[in-house]
């Protein structure tokens, strides 16, 4: 009888244990011993990085090598988890929900996290040398309420890609400088027939805000000016009207409202599209395929004035957790050494985020066109937490203008932006 009772207790404990085990495992986030720093004041020896996967070949390889160097130089251990872009939003949200935030998270947004008080600012964890080296543009867009939280890991700048072979066939001698020229060129290319697409216009949910930013910036428009949302400004409505006109004239690919950026790139890579907005990773793919003879030029502006480009940067943000400051600071200290940050950027085919990086890449001819624009690139308002929601609203709604009214679409987005922040 005694033994039976004992076994009952054991069984009970086993049930409890299994149930608890399932709790941890059922979150999808995995049970990470990363931040088990124990009581406040105790120093964390192991920190966890959740990194976004820029490419299958390079991202994991870089971070694994980085973790090894980090361990050798500092004595701390870095656990690396590489997550695909499709999942990272969901994974990071789940981790924070379950109080299992990583120490460092690599994402394309930071302001909402800063607003929720989850992050360290630069004073706490970013070495002064590194901060001074980061390009002013990125410091500006990484600053929320006077404090620098969004430390950039790499950047990209958009440029205008055109297919030289198609241009020759259509009798176009130079890339367009104005929108009127772009429209005329697109008409000539479409007139070639055989499924040729004048301008590949992706307004689908993947990156509608990126494509539209390029267009409004080159018409003197913006998302926000002087702290106020101006999404439905006259300039922006005029811009979207122009895009709708291109779609209606059928000089774009079929159904631009439902074309994602990846699909537009595929059209250009297969030699079907004459023009597209691209960035350096697209150039890398094109160089690898050697199928398309392409040129890169500044994006045409509405009136032929100086071209502006959209800069995009992702962030490595540091989560406040008891006792992890030193290890996190050591992480940034190492990451922003030219050897590390530039190796990563080079392997992934992106652009630098530091002054020393711009110098380092200055002799790469293929990157010149982007590097020249980088210090003056305009970014989307990533320093406003409201943008994190406005961006999603833009992705889900902008395409609707192709079958409806551009003005009404932008009015709706303006209302959304004003209501969230």
């Amino acid at each position: 009888m005694r033994s039976t009772k004992k076994s009952v207790v054991v069984a009970g404990l086993a049930i409890a244990g299994l149930a608890l085990g399932a709790c941890g495992g059922g979150t999808g986030a995995g049970t990470a011993p990363g931040g088990t720093a124990g009581a406040t004041g105790e120093e964390a020896k192991t920190i966890k990085l959740v990194a976004a996967e820029y490419s299958k070949d390079h991202t994991k390889a870089f971070w694994d090598a980085f973790a090894k160097t980090y361990n050798e130089k500092t004595g701390y251990t870095l656990e690396v988890q590489v997550v695909s872009w499709d999942n990272i939003d969901q994974q990071s949200s789940t981790m924070i929900q379950n109080n299992q935030a990583p120490d460092i998270l690599n994402l394309n947004a930071y302001a909402s996290y800063a607003k929720d008080g989850l992050l360290y600012d630069s004073d706490a964890v970013l070495p002064a040398v590194a901060k001074d080296d980061i390009l002013d543009t990125f410091v500006k867009y990484g600053t929320y309420q006077g404090k620098f939280y969004g430390f950039p890991d790499l950047s990209s700048a958009r440029a205008f890609f055109y297919n030289k072979t198609i241009f020759k066939q259509a009798g176009i001698t130079a890339p367009p400088k104005t929108w009127a020229e772009l429209e005329a060129d697109a008409q000539k290319i479409t007139a070639l027939g055989g499924g040729k697409v004048g301008y590949a216009l992706p307004l689908g949910p993947e990156e509608a805000q990126g494509e539209f930013s390029m267009w409004i910036f080159n018409n003197g428009g913006d998302w926000k000016t002087d702290g106020n949302w101006v999404i439905n400004s006259d300039k922006n409505v005029q811009t979207l009207d122009f895009l709708k006109k291109l779609a209606d004239e059928k000089v774009t690919q079929n159904n631009p409202a439902r074309t994602n950026r990846a699909d537009a790139f595929d059209l250009f890579k297969s030699g079907a599209a004459g023009m597209v907005v691209g960035f350096s990773p697209l150039a890398a793919d094109l160089d690898k395929d050697k199928k398309v003879d392409y040129g890169v030029a500044p994006f045409p502006t509405m009136d032929g004035s100086e071209s502006k480009t959209l800069g995009v940067t992702d962030y490595l943000m540091a989560f406040k957790k008891p006792g992890n400051e030193k290890a996190v600071k050591a992480f940034y200290n190492l990451y922003y050494t030219p050897d590390q940050v530039n190796t990563f950027i080079k392997a992934e085919g992106f652009l630098p985020v530091t002054e020393s990086g711009v110098k380092y890449f200055s002799n790469e001819k293929a990157l010149t066109v982007y590097l020249n624009t980088l210090p003056n690139a305009k970014l989307t308002p990533t320093d406003d937490p409201a943008w994190d929601k406005v961006k999603l609203a833009v992705q889900q709604n902008l395409g609707g203008a192709m079958n409806g009214s551009p003005k009404a679409t932008l009015d709706g987005l303006q209302r959304t932006a004003e209501s969230v922040g």
């Binding site: 009888m1 033994s3 039976t4 009772k5 076994s7 009952v8 069984a11 086993a14 049930i15 299994l18 149930a19 608890l20 085990g21 399932a22 709790c23 059922g26 939003d89 969901q90 990071s92 949200s93 789940t94 981790m95 924070i96 929900q97 909402s112 996290y113 607003k115 929720d116 989850l118 499924g195 689908g204 949910p205 993947e206 509608a208 690919q253 079929n254 159904n255 409202a257 439902r258 074309t259 994602n260 699909d263 059209l267 297969s270 079907a272 937490p385 994190d388 929601k389 406005v390 999603l392 609203a393 992705q395 889900q396 709604n397 902008l398 395409g399 609707g400 959304t416 969230v420």
Partner: protein, 331 residues
């Protein structure tokens, strides 16, 4: 352990377990009953059941409680819980402007996929029980869409349906059936149809095999008797095969309804280029609420999840009720 199976009821049950006085009476009762049956001590039985119970508690009950808890919380876009929301998340889901569209899509999706699957499977199962050369091969081939991952199958169909390069458009254009390509996934009037085709494609194997088993269970002598009585093939099918297939039909319908209702990868993959909720069902709606839409709200998504569970319970409940009712009336 083995000696405890022969143990007679303890005259002083629960001695030493005074820390749980409230549970004593029921334990005593259970022990006595077990003693009468004389098989295994209930506590030992509990031990054997422990892994299964743990699984149910950990994998079903605990997440359900967490889901309910999340649905009552107010969350930031980052996933940080900011406080309690009461029933606000539920109200927000019910007041969502696209809820009507989503519900209508769900009904169309489930009814169309399940109905077409059942009808096609009945025909195909009839074909596959006949013996013909290569039947084994065909039966294996039927399993393939079942064995392949849904995401892979969906991605394959995205390629097949593609506007510029898709083989379906290529074939239709070459045969001069159509003049310009069809935008199967981007044209609002085609999207649901294209998704239903994939839904049917992946639901067929399971349903066919359920029906093959059902057909195999029909005794030959009933058929012979009907033939002798002069029933036409159609009469035999309608009056004998189908009624005898009813258990198989019922199982196939209920399981398919649950399975198709909960289907996420097909709709998510085929519909990912379309903005808004025009072609979403309640399952992808729930996901988009949490991670893709401007709401980006875990709490609201959890509330939608609760509604989903209730919805499927109600639908299956109603279906089973109808089946029972028919059984009652047919006697």
């Amino acid at each position: 352990m083995s000696d405890s199976t022969t143990v007679t009821p303890d005259p002083a049950p629960a001695a030493g377990s005074g820390d749980q006085p409230s549970r004593m009476p029921s334990r005593t009762r259970r022990r006595r009953r077990a003693g009468r049956i004389g098989q295994v001590h209930p506590l030992v039985a509990l031990l054997w059941l422990a892994p299964a119970l743990a699984l149910i508690l950990g994998v079903v009950l605990y997440p359900a409680i967490k889901l309910f808890d999340a649905s009552r919380g107010e969350y930031s876009i980052t996933g940080l819980r900011k406080g309690d929301a009461g029933w606000d998340n539920y109200v927000n889901v019910l007041q969502h402007p696209d809820l009507g569209t989503v519900l209508r899509n769900t009904v169309v999706w489930v009814v169309a996929v399940v109905a077409i699957t059942i009808v096609l499977s009945l025909a195909l199962a009839q074909f596959l029980v006949k013996s013909f050369p290569g039947r084994r091969f065909v039966r294996w081939a039927v399993i393939i869409p079942w064995a392949a991952s849904l995401v892979i199958t969906s991605q394959l169909f995205v390629l097949l349906y593609d506007y510029n390069y898709g083989i379906i458009n290529h074939v239709l254009l070459s045969l001069h059936v159509i003049g310009t390509p069809i935008d199967f996934l981007g044209d609002d009037s085609w999207t649901m149809f294209s998704m239903v085709v994939v839904g049917v494609f992946v639901s067929l194997p399971f349903t066919i095999f359920v029906f093959i088993a059902g057909l195999g269970a029909i005794p030959d002598d009933v058929m012979e008797a009907a033939t002798v009585d002069g029933a036409s093939p159609w009469q035999r099918y309608w009056n004998i095969t189908l009624p005898l297939m009813r258990p198989a039909l019922m199982i196939a319908t209920v399981l398919n309804v649950i399975y198709v209702f909960n289907s996420f990868p097909i709709i998510y993959t085929l519909n990912d280029r379309n903005p808004g909720y025009a072609h979403d069902t309640t399952i992808t709606f729930m996901y988009k609420l949490a991670f893709k839409s401007q709401e980006h709200d875990v709490g609201m998504s959890a509330a939608a999840g609760i509604f989903n569970v209730l919805l499927i319970l109600v639908v299956v409940g109603i279906y089973l009720k109808i089946i029972n009712w028919r059984e009652e009336t047919s006697r």
